[in-house]
């Protein structure tokens, strides 16, 4: 495999790409270089199923050339970092840009670049040497713990462990050039439970910037096994309208879907049902949603966004009131606003809007207390399908979970759908739970929607 390249070499490549773009005729340009080193293992039963190792790099060059009424933009990417290859790519980018239309809103930010670069705890140097064998051991422990939980756990899709390390360098024609390193580690277990003809799977996972952030593998395996076991004997319920409680694994998808409707692009295109709602009460008063790119050790943390803008804390909803869109430079300019430092970007395309560490502020009651309050309703533990329309807010997804009667879980449920409209569902959030656990870049405590339509028998 290719050898790791150091920070100085990477910065030299970025500088050379910027100079090549300018020389080729770009009036503005920026460059993103990413180098990653990833390893991944999966264990199933006693056997190692696969080990995977890779080193990868990607260089993305965005060039803008001056047109009649604005700038013309193109993005070109490659993994070939040889100086002559970079020069060719820069020339190609400029030629490609000349074929596109001038856009008065196009451009690279003038200011707002990250000046404060605190240590965000994005990696732990002592993890760099982590061996494949050590991660195989973690996966084996999770797998063994899952299978030891109950004799009905006799199969699995496996337990998977991963460790990735990356260095990101960004530079632009203003002379801003900066870089950071990050790491992420994960462990995921997906056992199968079987009882007679009934077979169910479920999963549990842990993830973090440092290996020491991860939950004990045995806990991950046991939790996954118990989730699969409690689904055995699942049945449908009759079509009805009841309160629906989303657990800590399913509630984040609601928050994620909501924020896709807050992206500056869907606002200026008017393709979000929230496009004309800035400043209004769009959710019940117990809903506060925050996106913060600078949480210590956060899986979404980064010192600067895909355009070099300093990341920050953005309060999107406060006590139910819509306070902020998520904006990169372009969508901000289209709306007459300034970037919220939310540019997300791979090497292969122009920036778009993304979230960093996104969460719903927790409330007072535990999940158990919330269950105890429900006379008749559903606890959703898994969602499948893509039934969400950001333009109208219409929401209809396949679900599995646990049926609640008189404050107690009575049986597992499957093969049902839950439906509503996100605009109404937000206003119907009548309980927010107290447990906020990070397992990725988006987290949410349990959330109760006062009523949704369940389709079943």
């Amino acid at each position: 495999m290719s050898q790791t390249i150091d920070a100085t070499t990477m910065e030299t490549v970025v500088t050379h790409a910027l100079e090549s773009a300018k020389l080729a005729g770009a009036s503005q340009c920026d460059v993103l270089l990413v180098e990653g080193n990833d390893r991944e293992v999966r264990v199933r039963g006693d056997e190692v199923e696969f080990v995977k190792q890779a080193q990868e790099r990607g260089l993305g060059i965005r060039t803008l050339v001056a047109g009649k009424d604005g700038l013309q933009t193109a993005v070109v990417s490659t993994s070939d970092l040889a100086p002559d290859a970079v020069e060719r790519m820069a020339q190609e980018a400029v030629a490609l840009a000349r074929a596109t239309a001038p856009d008065p809103f196009a451009g690279i930010p003038e200011d707002g670049f990250a000046t404060e670069l605190p240590d965000l705890g994005l990696f732990d140097e002592s993890d760099f040497g982590v061996s494949l064998d050590a991660r195989i051991e973690d996966a084996k422990r999770a797998e063994a713990a899952a299978r030891a939980t109950d004799k009905r756990i006799d199969n699995s899709q496996g337990s998977q462990a991963s460790s990735g390390f990356a260095r990101i360098v960004y530079g632009n024609h203003h002379g801003f050039l900066s870089s950071y390193q990050s790491a992420s580690h994960g462990l995921f277990s997906e056992p199968l439970a079987r009882d007679g003809d009934s077979m169910q799977r479920d999963y549990w996972m842990t993830a973090g910037r440092r290996l020491s952030d991860l939950d004990d593998p045995a806990i991950v395996g046991r939790k996954a096994a118990n989730r699969a076991l409690r689904r055995l004997g699942a049945k449908r319920v009759a079509t009805c309208v009841v309160p629906v409680l989303f657990d800590g694994l399913t509630a984040p998808s609601l928050i994620g879907q909501l924020t896709s409707c807050l992206s500056g692009y869907s606002i200026y295109r008017e393709s979000s049902f929230l496009a004309d709602k800035m400043g209004e009460m769009i959710a019940s008063s117990n809903v506060t949603i925050i996106d913060d790119g600078r949480l210590q050790g956060g899986l979404g943390s980064k010192p600067f966004d895909g355009e070099g803008q300093q990341t920050r804390r953005n309060v999107l909803l406060e006590d139910g009131q819509l306070k902020s869109w998520l904006l990169d430079h372009y969508s901000a300019k289209k709306l007459g606003l300034t970037s919220t430092g939310s540019a997300s970007r791979g090497t292969g395309s122009a920036p778009h809007v993304g979230t960093t560490n996104l969460w719903l502020e927790p409330g007072e009651k535990t999940l158990d207390e919330l269950i105890a309050e429900i006379d008749r309703g559903l606890l959703v533990t898994e969602l499948i399908g893509m039934g969400f329309n950001p333009t109208t807010g219409d929401y209809s997804r396949g679900a599995a979970g646990l049926w609640i009667e008189n404050g107690e879980i009575v049986h597992p449920v499957e093969e049902i759908t839950i439906a509503g409209n996100l605009g109404e569902m937000l206003k119907q959030i009548d309980r927010v739970g107290s447990e906020l656990v990070w397992r990725g870049r988006t987290a949410s405590p349990p959330v109760r929607i006062s009523q949704m339509t369940i389709a079943g028998e």
Partner: protein, 491 residues
């Protein structure tokens, strides 16, 4: 075989051109390939392969009447795999060179610890079996200016159609991929794969209501095929019709009802409900709801489902899969009886059957998995109009967004983007937000009518599995399914 001599010549040309490409650009000749393989085989592995890829993708998109950006992306690299029993070692590098391949081979073989006594590999090329997608001009070689002008035409056409069309977003994505795979049994196969796609999305506005309509098309052919105005105008018309229709659509009722699926893209039902469950890996591990069901009835009489990677120009087609196995037409369900799974090499070997040409990967950076190609149900005898008339009260679903399945429980879901109520055998009011959910192993047993109107989809499907996306096709005649759960908001 009905292939003409011309086709065979063209076939040799395609695979030879691909071989020459890797030889000329990256010095990957037979001798160097054998050397890299020998590195992997220094340990006692059962099997090893090298997969080289060089892919150019460009994407041009329009919104607000202008093409704001052009993107061009080059992806190149090598992936090396070693297999020992059920254990796979995989390493990949974005450096397309012999040295990188050897280094990766050294990493991949680490899954086996004993030294090997295998003799060096002798490379040979099997005669290519198909040439399904030869093109004269690579879609990525069509000048960007041509694509920009074309998008402008689409924009003007769509806006002129109806004053309620307030937004048009359109894009043209072109891909041209060279691949070369060489395996420890000495087989060396190469291919050149074009892939094009056009997307047209419009927004219709009426007062404060807004709705999106989408239509796309594509496949493994040149861009000229799509540039025919009759072709893209029909797509734009469909997108507009769909958006305007959704403006009038009422919320969908919830509950169990008889459902008629229209022909073509609703074949996504087959993909989700049974296709994934018939992939070899899940069945070897017995984690699928279809495990151990070979020879059993899983669908009503008259239902025959195939997965066919050999259809010329289709989005899911391949001359050879990503392990070098020629694709073929695999019958999965024959007259209601489960007769076959889809296999890659690893799972076929472990199950003691032959690979079926379904070993696919997203790129050199991914391990091959058993995947679908073009999955569809064969036509039946029924008149589609009569099928609709047979339903007293139900749902007629003609287009869908995405779907998903839980392989183990067999529960699947997919969301309608265009659906109507059926009232007394007549198509009634359009409804929106309809999600269909069911149980894979029994949904096809409730197929009561099969139309004679089999259609394949327009060529826009991408299937996700284990984080890998691959292009696929689906198809279906009009069918009636009795008693499917429909999710909606009206209780």
């Amino acid at each position: 075989m009905s292939q003409s001599d011309n086709t065979t010549e063209a076939t040799e040309a395609t695979s030879d051109r691909a071989l020459e490409f890797f030889q000329d650009r990256f010095d990957l000749d037979d001798r160097s390939l054998a050397t890299a393989l020998d590195t992997a085989l220094e340990r006692n592995v059962d099997y090893a392969d090298l997969y080289f890829e060089y892919t150019t993708t460009d994407s041009v998109s329009l919104e607000e009447g202008i093409v704001k950006s052009g993107d061009r992306h080059l992806e190149q690299g090598v992936g090396v795999r070693a297999i020992r029993g059920e254990r796979q070692g995989y390493a990949h590098s974005d450096d397309l060179s012999l040295d990188s391949a050897k280094l990766a081979a050294g990493t991949a073989r680490a899954i086996a610890d004993e030294a090997s006594t295998q003799s060096p590999v002798a490379i040979h090329s099997p005669a290519p079996s198909h040439d399904l997608y030869p093109v004269d001009v690579a879609p990525t070689d069509v000048p960007v200016a041509t694509k920009v002008d074309w998008l402008g035409e689409i924009d003007r056409y769509a806006r002129a159609k109806d004053p309620r069309i307030t937004q048009v977003m359109a894009s043209i994505v072109s891909q041209y991929k060279h691949m070369l795979v060489v395996a420890s049994d000495g087989t060396r196969v190469a291919d050149i794969l074009p892939l094009v796609r056009i997307n047209i999305q419009v927004m219709a506005t009426d007062g404060t209501s807004r709705e999106i309509g989408y239509q796309g098309a594509g496949g493994r052919y040149d861009l000229e095929t799509l540039r025919d105005p009759a072709r893209w105008q029909a797509l734009a018309d469909e997108a507009i019709r769909s958006a305007l229709l959704n403006l009038e659509a009422k919320p969908c009722p919830a509950g169990s009802m008889d459902v008629v699926l229209g022909p073509g893209w609703p074949g996504i039902l087959l993909h989700e409900a049974i296709g994934h469950g018939l992939e070899g890996d899940f069945n070897r591990k017995k984690t699928s709801a279809f495990s151990d069901k070979l020879g059993q009835r899983v669908a009503a009489e008259g239902v025959t489902v195939v997965d066919d990677g050999t259809l010329p120009g289709r989005r899911g087609s391949l001359n050879v899969d990503d392990e070098g196995t020629p694709t073929r037409r695999n019958v999965l369900i024959e007259n209601g009886i489960l007769v076959g799974y889809m296999q890659d090499r690893l799972n076929a070997d472990l199950m003691g059957v032959a690979p079926t040409g379904n070993g696919r990967r997203e790129s050199y950076a991914h391990l091959p998995l058993p995947r679908m190609t073009n999955t569809f149900m064969l036509a039946g005898q029924d008149d589609p109009e009569e099928i609709l008339k047979s339903v007293d009260n139900g749902l007629y679903a003609v287009s869908f967004g995405g779907g998903q399945v839980d392989i183990t429980s067999g529960k699947f879901v997919f969301s309608a983007s265009e659906a109507y109520l059926i009232e007394n055998g007549q198509i009634g009011a359009p409804v929106k937000g309809a999600t269909l959910i069911g149980n894979g192993p029994d949904v096809l047993t409730r197929v009561s009518h099969i139309g004679h109107d089999l259609e394949l989809d327009q060529g826009v499907g991408t299937c996700g599995k284990d984080g890998q996306g691959v292009p696929v096709g689906v198809g279906l005649p009009t069918i009636r399914i009795d008693g499917l759960t429909v999710g909606g908001t009206e209780g």
